[in-house]
Symmetry: C2
Subunit: 315 residues, 2 copies
């Protein structure tokens, strides 16, 4: 089990290699939302996403002799860049399996950090098979995007930093895909601010976490949403933590995601990707539940093709 | 003359009413630029621009009995919102004269703060005439967008904050339009970090500051650039400070502005308006001069129509 001390140690470990991202507020957003929101800006993190934290923490914990053979993963995007960057910092190779429909900006990001890309069909089976081949050939260590305790512990440091700046939050919100950020956030709340309730945002078109909590077992994800970072299914390491600790999951439509995304772009002057807008969309959808409260929202990432985003905004 | 103490007092005065904006860095931007850049993110300031500082400082210095009659200005954009916001905070009326071609987002911003808009033709004479009429009718106090010592003093607080976080900058850069931010930045450097040289960025299509420094007198501005925040001509209060203290002015084309703007959007996940990209464009244009140096850049604002901005990016 991940302990409070693990999170504190992870924070010290990755501190030289990741940004302490700013916490931003906006009067106009607060007026619209009817509550006080503190945005933890992981879209301004290295590689444009919180994933820099977990990848760095996990890579640094591989023993040195094994580490030199490199690290490998399959990822649709932000985790891929985070692994490539961690490898660059540690001076080791990175092997990244990516679906052939991954956004161009994310592929370019991986190449920019010197990562080697292996493309495959956009389904979980093809990703896993290709990754197994790459690892057999190279001897690299796999770092899973979320179902890895070191990764989850690294992601927990984002919420830890937010609590260090705002210690009386009623709620903290994070998006849920595979559950790495959400489980990290849940553990950070449990250890550092137990009074703060954790609420997840999830796309209605990939609502496996919502359904898993109802059925009590891991349900498979569909993939019918623009939130391309949240298509994955929960893992056996993330689900138990989520099940035990999360207050609830709010699901939102793609139209609600675009509206929330646009508000952050226009009012806060920050670029966020669709997946990142999901918790704020959930808050807006259920405004009365948050009326007058202090709410932390982890803005997870900002990697989006600008042209694609433009098309979302033009009605 | 504005003193060091004036800037310190202004900073204390406005502190409860403006953000202390983050200073952001980016490895990939530094790789591209060949130097270490510290971006002071005034695009993340209230009203999305540094103008919140000067307007607040000036409004707070009007004697209470006079202040209740309101404040007035003419502005193409960000200063207008800043005045409307300052008035709202102080509970007094704001009267804003705006050119009828001002971006919609800026007009909506003014209305959102309860400011009253008076539209006029997009030229200086029409703006001044309309403003004089409004003031005659209301008794409001004019707060000029830049040619006002209290405004200039307020703008100086952005550079002051940057120096507080990074005290060994070789250069600090700011855009120049009317010269409010630039003269504030020059005075902040002079008083708080005299070793730091100040360089201005200016659009080639509105290069009146560049020409004024050559001729030794205030030259009129043309208006042939997408940088709509930098169309104004220097004032008799800003020009002497600029003339005495600025290291130099780098002029850039609109294509160079768009390229620099795109880099900030994509690599730093922040929305900046064309005017805001001008100093960074100047740095990229003259990279060898900055090689290996530590450079502060004040990101002045992020108020831009998304559709318009995104069209600039589509080649």
């Amino acid at each position: 089990m991940i302990t409070k001390h693990d999170i504190e140690q992870a924070h010290e470990r990755i501190r030289p290699h990741v940004h302490r991202t700013p916490v931003q507020t906006s009067h106009s957003i607060n007026d619209i939302a009817g509550c006080s929101i503190y945005f933890k800006c992981e879209n301004l993190q290295n590689v444009g996403a919180f994933k820099a934290r977990g990848a760095m923490n996990a890579a640094m914990q591989i023993p040195a002799d094994q580490r030199s053979k490199g690290i490998a993963t399959h990822s649709s995007g932000n985790h891929a860049q985070a692994i490539a960057r961690a490898a660059k910092i540690l001076g080791i190779p990175a092997y990244i399996v990516m679906p052939n429909n991954a956004p161009l900006i994310k592929k370019e990001g991986v190449k920019g950090y010197g990562g080697q890309i292996f493309e495959c069909e956009p389904n979980l089976k093809a990703r896993e098979t290709t990754l197994a081949e790459v690892i057999a050939k190279t001897g690299a260590t796999e770092i899973h995007p979320f179902n890895n305790y070191h990764v989850m512990t690294g992601q927990a440091t984002a919420a830890k930093e937010l609590f260090e700046e705002v210690n009386d939050l009623d709620y903290i919100m994070a998006p849920v895909g595979g559950g790495g950020l959400l489980s990290g956030t849940l553990l950070a709340a449990k250890y550092f601010n137990p009074k703060t309730k954790v609420i997840a945002g999830e796309p209605a078109g990939a609502d496996d976490a919502f359904r898993s909590l109802q059925s009590g077992k891991i349900e498979l994800s569909q993939s019918n949403t623009i939130a391309d970072g949240l298509l994955t299914t929960l893992g056996d390491k993330t689900f138990p933590i989520i099940k035990e600790n999360v207050d609830r999951v709010i699901t939102v439509t793609d139209a609600e995601i675009v509206e929330a995304m646009r508000l952050i772009w226009e009012r806060m002057k920050m670029i966020i990707e669709p997946s990142c807008a999901v918790p704020f969309a959930g808050l807006l959808k259920e405004k009365p539940a948050f009326a007058g409260k202090k709410v932390g929202i982890i803005l997870s990432g900002g990697n989006v093709d600008l042209e694609k985003a433009l098309k979302l905004f033009i009605k």
